[in-house]
Structure formats: C-alpha cells, structure tokens
C-alpha cells in the first residue's frame, strides 16, 4: 500500500520539527505514521467510518515499519498512543502533535 500519499495530510510544522529532531529516516517515518493513527482516529467528520479504518490500518503499518528496525521505539510509541487514547477517554482534550513531539525529544 502506498502510504506516502497520506503524508500530505500531516501539518507542515510537525513535519519540520520531526525532521529536525529525528536522527534517522526510519524514526521520522515512524513519527509520521504515529501522527496519522491519531489524526484519523480523532476525526469527528467520518460518516462512513473510512477514517476510523485508516487509523486502524496505520496501526498495523507502524508495527510493520518498526518491528524489524527498533522494537524499543515501537514500544515507546505504542505506550504514548495508548496514553493519548486514555486522555481522550478521561478529559476529551489532548494535543496529539505535542504528545508525539515530546516523545520524539525524549528518544532523540
């Protein structure tokens, strides 16, 4: 599946920041995939469920991407995504871009 076409949906300032912070290309790509999971899963305009399914799809793509490269990073991103979901459940407000960039700073 061509994932690159979805990268156009990512905010430019996020792309800029992750390319500055990431030490390797695969880390940059992982943070793009993580962004897209939360981007699609937090879309409220999703009448037919397509965005929800795309979010699910990007979960498997993130795992496929990182599993052979960096299991440690995959675990950290997974934990941060779960934290974002629980913030959504508890307080309904969170900034996923900020959460992911915070994690990227921690791992860089």
């Amino acid at each position: 599946m061509n994932t690159k076409k979805y990268f156009d949906l990512i905010e430019e300032d996020y792309i800029r920041e992750i390319s500055l912070l990431s030490k390797k290309d695969y880390i940059e790509e992982a943070f793009k995939l993580a962004y897209l999971i939360l981007f699609f899963h937090s879309c409220s305009e999703d009448r037919d469920g397509r965005k929800l399914l795309l979010g699910d799809l990007f979960i498997s793509l993130l795992n496929r991407h990182l599993l052979p490269l960096d299991r440690g990073l995959l675990k950290k991103i997974t934990d941060r995504l779960v934290l974002c979901y629980s913030k959504e459940i508890i307080c309904r407000k969170y900034d996923y871009k900020k959460e992911l960039l915070e994690l990227l700073k921690e791992v860089s």
Binding site: D48, L53, G55, L57, N63, T78, Y85
Partner: protein, 313 residues
C-alpha cells in the same frame, strides 16, 4: 461442555491481560464486552491447533491477546455500522459515544498487538501484522463497494477471506508456530482455519437473513440495508433475473422496507439451502485437511466444532 480445561485457561489469561490495562474505563468496558458471551472461537482455535505440537504458556497468552484484538475490531465495526446492540447488549458507541469507542478500540488493538510482540516470536509477529493489514484493507474495500450490488461469487469469497477467514487462519497458524509444529502441519493448520472461517462467515450471513434477534444479537437484514450484499442474495440473483434487476436498482436512498422485501424473498427461496451447501463445502475441505494431519487429537477437537457448524442446516 467440551474443552472446559482449555476455556478455563483462556479465560484466566484474558482476565490477567485485562487487569494489566492502565485506566479504569478501559478495564471496566473491556470486561463488560468480554463477559457478554462471545464464543472465544479464535483463542480456542489457536489452543486446539497448538496440540499439533507441544502446547505451552505462550499459546494461551497469544490466545487471550487474539480475543482482545477481536474485541477491538468489534468495537470499531459497531461505530462504522452504527450498531446499537451486540450479543444482546448495548454497544460501546451507543453507551459512551464515538470518541470513547474509537479510543477504547485503539487502546485494545495496540495493547493486544504489543502483547503478541512480547512473545518474541518473529514469525508470529509478522503474520499477525500481515493479517491485521489484510483485515483493514478488506474493510476499506468493502466500504468502497457499499451499495455496489454487482459483485460476483469470487468477489464475495475474497471479501470474507479478508475480513473473517484471515483471522481464523491466523489463530491456527499461531497455534502451530508457537507449539513448534512442523512446517507442513503449520501450512495445513492455516488452511483449516481459513476454510472454517469462510464457513463461519457464510453462516453468519445466513443468520442475518433468517436468524432471530435473540439468536444473532442483531436486527435481521442489516447487511443489505447497509449496502453489503451477501452470498444468499447473490445465489438468488443468479437464478432470478427479476430479483437481480430489483437488487441492482437499490441505492443508499432506498427505503428500509424495500430492502426488507428483498430479504424476505431470499428467506422464502432455496438460496439459503444453497448457501448452507457452500458453507458445508468449506467444512468438507477443512475435514479433508484434518484427516491428512496425522494428529488425532487436533482432528477430533476440530471435527467436533465442524459438526456443530454442519448441524445448522
């Protein structure tokens, strides 16, 4: 009840997994869904397949994770289908709203995947990720085909392979791999799961037409009203040109009662019997593979499950 020992261990492992979830809402809602009476077929398939090798703790841990993965996909399915009831209970989206249901499904999915990766079996991890991707792509394809009633038998089989049979095949393959079964046996287990999975989906599609709400936990005729055509409709379309013409004239703006009339027509035709025959043909294939496994215990256990699926006719 058969497989009592296996079910007890599966339940214990599911309980341990749920208890390790971090927030209270996720824990409570997952427990409610898990305790709502699912058949635990996917974890059971994994454990039964594992008898082809040496069954061990990892098999049960993986089995429990698969059930959570399945639960997460049901939560998201109910959002997409606007499902209000499942297994006779209100769905998560109906009680808590879309945002919480999306987050719960996402959490469970990530959590279950991580649990399977923690088993540190590269092959199991890879086939699980492959299957999840297939599932999602299959669902997206189904979405693109909504209200396109011009699909054929092969399209239908591809769809059910992707959305249902792939997970049953995964369960059986994982059982074989984690128990150290031979390559040949793992290959056969995969196809056994696949064929039973196809039969299972066909039976579910039949239930959507002729089942009671009590039996299926869902309202009848949901598939066609949602723009999804299933095997019994396709079989009648093949035989009855006027029925085909009516189906092809339906759109997303058609009224519920118009769809219900079509469902009623299928219910009264021989299409359901023919659909049972096709389901049985998949079960025959699974039986044939089982008999070539040379694992009497695996053959006996799966044959007992298959017999129950045959009985539906």
């Amino acid at each position: 009840m058969r497989h009592t020992k296996e079910f007890i261990r599966i339940e214990k492992n599911i309980e341990v997994l749920i208890d390790s979830l971090s927030d209270e809402f996720t824990k409570k809602e997952t427990k409610r869904l898990i305790n709502s009476g699912g058949k635990r077929l996917r974890p059971l398939f994994l454990v039964l397949a594992a008898k082809a090798g040496t069954i061990n703790d990892k098999c049960y841990e993986a089995a429990a994770s698969l059930e959570l993965l399945h639960t997460s996909s049901l939560i998201h399915d109910d959002i997409i289908d606007h499902g209000e009831m499942r297994r006779g209970l209100e769905t998560t989206v109906n009680i808590h709203g879309r945002e919480k249901a999306v987050s719960l499904g996402g959490t469970l999915s990530l959590f279950a995947i991580d649990s399977i990766l923690s088993l540190e079996n590269e092959r199991v991890s890879t086939i699980m990720i492959d299957t999840l991707e297939t599932l999602c792509l299959g669902e997206l394809k189904q979405l693109n085909e909504k209200y396109n009633f011009e699909i054929n038998y092969q399209d239908y089989i591809t769809r059910i392979s992707e959305k249902t049979a792939s997970l049953f095949a995964l369960s059986c393959s994982m059982g074989g791999i984690l128990s150290g079964a031979s390559e040949k046996v793992i290959h056969k287990l995969h196809h056994i799961g696949f064929n039973i999975g196809c039969s299972f989906q066909i039976l579910d599609d039949i239930l959507d037409i002729n089942g009671s709400q009590k039996e299926s936990g869902k309202v009848c005729g949901q598939d066609i009203r949602g723009g999804i055509i299933t095997l019994p409709y396709l079989l009648l379309m093949d035989k009855d040109p006027s029925f085909k013409k009516r189906i092809l004239s339906m759109t997303n703006r058609s009224q519920s009662h118009q769809f219900d009339e079509l469902t009623d027509k299928v219910r009264k035709s021989s299409a359901l019997e023919e659909a049972y025959d096709i389901s049985n043909a998949f079960l025959d294939k699974a039986c044939h593979l089982l008999s070539s496994l040379r694992c009497p215990e695996v053959e006996k256990d799966f044959t007992n499950i298959i017999k129950k699926l045959y009985k539906n006719k």
